[in-house]
């Protein structure tokens, strides 16, 4: 349900990523996604930002189910390490509950490439805060099954085109807060924040690929434009280490902080 009470909107990001999900056993969610052309990046595989969105989608829903019936969840931080940058697909996203506390839920999420002998693609942990939505937590039929969209996959714009990302100097990128980028609560989707961070890292490093992310969601992005600004902290054999601050420029506040390792550009 979105802020206007329309259950059909607020899910555009999920539809764009094309992740289907089902609850294999209680609180063990399994998602699948095709390695679609619009999700691919310069390294050939699915962009890290899209992988992070998948982790957030499946891990977040798994966390939400664990929070029921008391409440629902909002992502507070995501850590993830990407170990393979080229993918065959389909990708399988496995989410399992690590901890259900009084205030938060922790889910472990892994992405594997079923077309490459189940090779590990990414491993992450999503922490979500439990909250009580104004109209109560969403109702789901269990075991949960979510279909992303009918096949075949339509031709979609690439991620940078879809987000309408633009460079702001050498160290920043920015997007407008379009309606299709909002989640059901009416704020910028967490996966889009993660993708913006990934694109900012790529921009600031001249084409490097994000391999490691720590992302803290500090406040909602409601107004826009939303800007990600990069500061290079250092360089190592595995790439640049970056501090990336996300701000809702229209609301004049910092909304997320990321620490990113970005592999050296080829």
């Amino acid at each position: 349900m979105n802020r206007d009470g329309d259950a059909s909107t607020g899910h555009d990001v999920g539809r764009y990523m094309g992740v289907t999900m089902h609850e294999e056993e209680e609180l063990h969610l399994v998602g699948h996604a095709v390695v679609a052309p619009h999700l691919r990046g310069p390294a050939g595989g699915v962009r890290t930002g899209a992988l992070l969105t998948m982790l957030d989608n499946v891990g977040g829903l798994g966390g939400g189910l664990a929070a029921l019936p008391d409440g629902w969840v909002v992502s507070t931080n995501l850590v993830a390490r990407v170990v393979v940058l080229s993918h065959v697909g389909p990708l399988r996203i496995d989410s399992g509950l690590l901890r259900r506390g009084r205030n938060n839920v922790v889910t472990g999420v892994q992405i594997r490439d079923e077309g490459a002998h189940d090779a590990l693609v990414a491993s992450g942990v999503l922490t979500s805060a439990i909250l009580i939505p104004e109209n109560g937590p969403p109702q789901w039929e269990r075991p949960l099954v979510l279909q992303a969209r009918p096949e075949p996959i339509p031709e979609l714009p690439s991620i940078p085109e879809w987000l309408g990302v633009r460079a702001v100097g050498d160290d920043s990128v920015e997007i407008d807060l379009a309606e299709v980028l909002r989640n059901p609560w009416g704020i910028l989707h967490g996966g889009v924040v993660a993708t913006l961070v990934d694109l900012a890292a790529e921009h600031a490093t001249g084409g490097g690929a994000t391999t490691d992310v720590v992302l803290h969601f500090l406040a909602p992005n409601r107004v826009g434009p939303v800007r990600a600004r990069v500061r290079v902290l250092g360089r190592r054999t595995d790439g640049h280490v970056l501090r990336i601050e996300v701000r809702d420029e229209g609301a004049a506040r910092t909304t997320a902080l990321a620490i990113v390792t970005c592999g050296l550009a080829p």
């Binding site: 850590v79 720590v214 054999t237 910092t254 902080l257």
Partner: protein
């Protein structure tokens, strides 16, 4: 029983940390002298030792930010970009990024005395209702401060002090006892030392996997439960290897408490901190 924390012989004294807290409660600074006993065999401060510095300053700052509530550490992340050598002093500058009803988030910048960046860390905390057993913190009154005494120092390398026992290097299985020297105020293994155990486990397994002298430079620690009984036991899954770097996922369990999962850690190792 009147419990004094930390006791006279304790990690938090022997690291010779000192602190200075901003009166507004949004910032703190802490310093840790780098000694040989805290260093890897490549001659710079171990990630786990720096994680302990981060844990102490971040926890103190968050406790103040969450008042009158109390806190439980949810996660700690650390990325190193520079080598902190013996004889130097690492300064940790902590700042509250968010102090909400349910969550506190802290950022900690690490630098040496020449203001060269050593690394960056973040921590997040769940805010809980205060219990009678939670300590009162008067940060400004106690600032600047130190927990060390004139006799405080590490008598042997950190890993020896912890009694690290390697059971299976390739799988990164190590045991570390839970002892008073490294307990937190709740009686469990201190959060920074939990990170240090993961650091050693990852380094051991990644060196075995790559045959390279890698050292851990990144730790992403998710705390799930306390290690109260011990030994704390690790298991490592090598996620990937490349030239001069590798990554791993580490799980820590409290082997004395029916192998209850305590902590999940993602770690990266490289060979070139300068």
């Amino acid at each position: 029983m009147t419990a004094v924390y930390p006791p006279e012989h304790h990690l938090l004294r022997d690291l010779r940390l000192s602190f200075d807290h901003d009166a507004g409660g949004r910032r703190s600074r802490a310093w840790m002298p780098v000694v040989d006993e805290l260093c890897t065999d490549l001659g710079h401060a171990r990630a786990g030792a720096l994680a302990t510095l981060v844990d102490v300053i971040g926890g103190g700052l968050a406790a103040g930010a969450a008042a009158p509530g109390w806190i439980a550490t949810a996660d700690l992340t650390l990325h190193l970009v520079g080598a902190a050598r013996p004889g130097s002093v690492v300064e940790a500058r902590a700042e509250v990024l968010r102090a909400g009803r349910t969550t506190v988030v802290i950022e900690v910048a690490l630098a040496d005395e020449r203001d060269r960046s050593v690394g960056i860390a973040t921590m997040s905390f769940a805010v809980l209702p205060r219990r009678d057993t939670n300590p009162e913190i008067d940060r400004v009154r106690d600032s600047p401060s130190t927990m060390s005494t004139p006799e405080s120092r590490l008598a042997q390398p950190l890993l020896d002090e912890l009694g690290v026992h390697v059971r299976d290097a390739e799988r990164g299985v190590i045991d570390v006892a839970v002892v008073d020297w490294s307990r937190n105020s709740m009686g469990a293994m201190q959060g920074g030392i939990v990170a240090a155990v993961a650091d050693v486990a990852a380094e051991t397994a990644l060196r075995a996997a790559t045959n390279e002298p890698l050292v851990v430079t990144d730790l992403q620690v998710t705390y799930l439960g306390f290690g109260r009984v011990g030994p704390v036991r690790s298991a490592v899954e090598v996620l990937g290897t490349g030239t001069g770097h590798a990554s791993a996922r580490v799980e820590l369990v409290d082997a004395g408490a029916e192998n209850r999962l305590m902590t999940v850690v993602h770690a990266a190792a490289t060979r070139d901190l300068t």
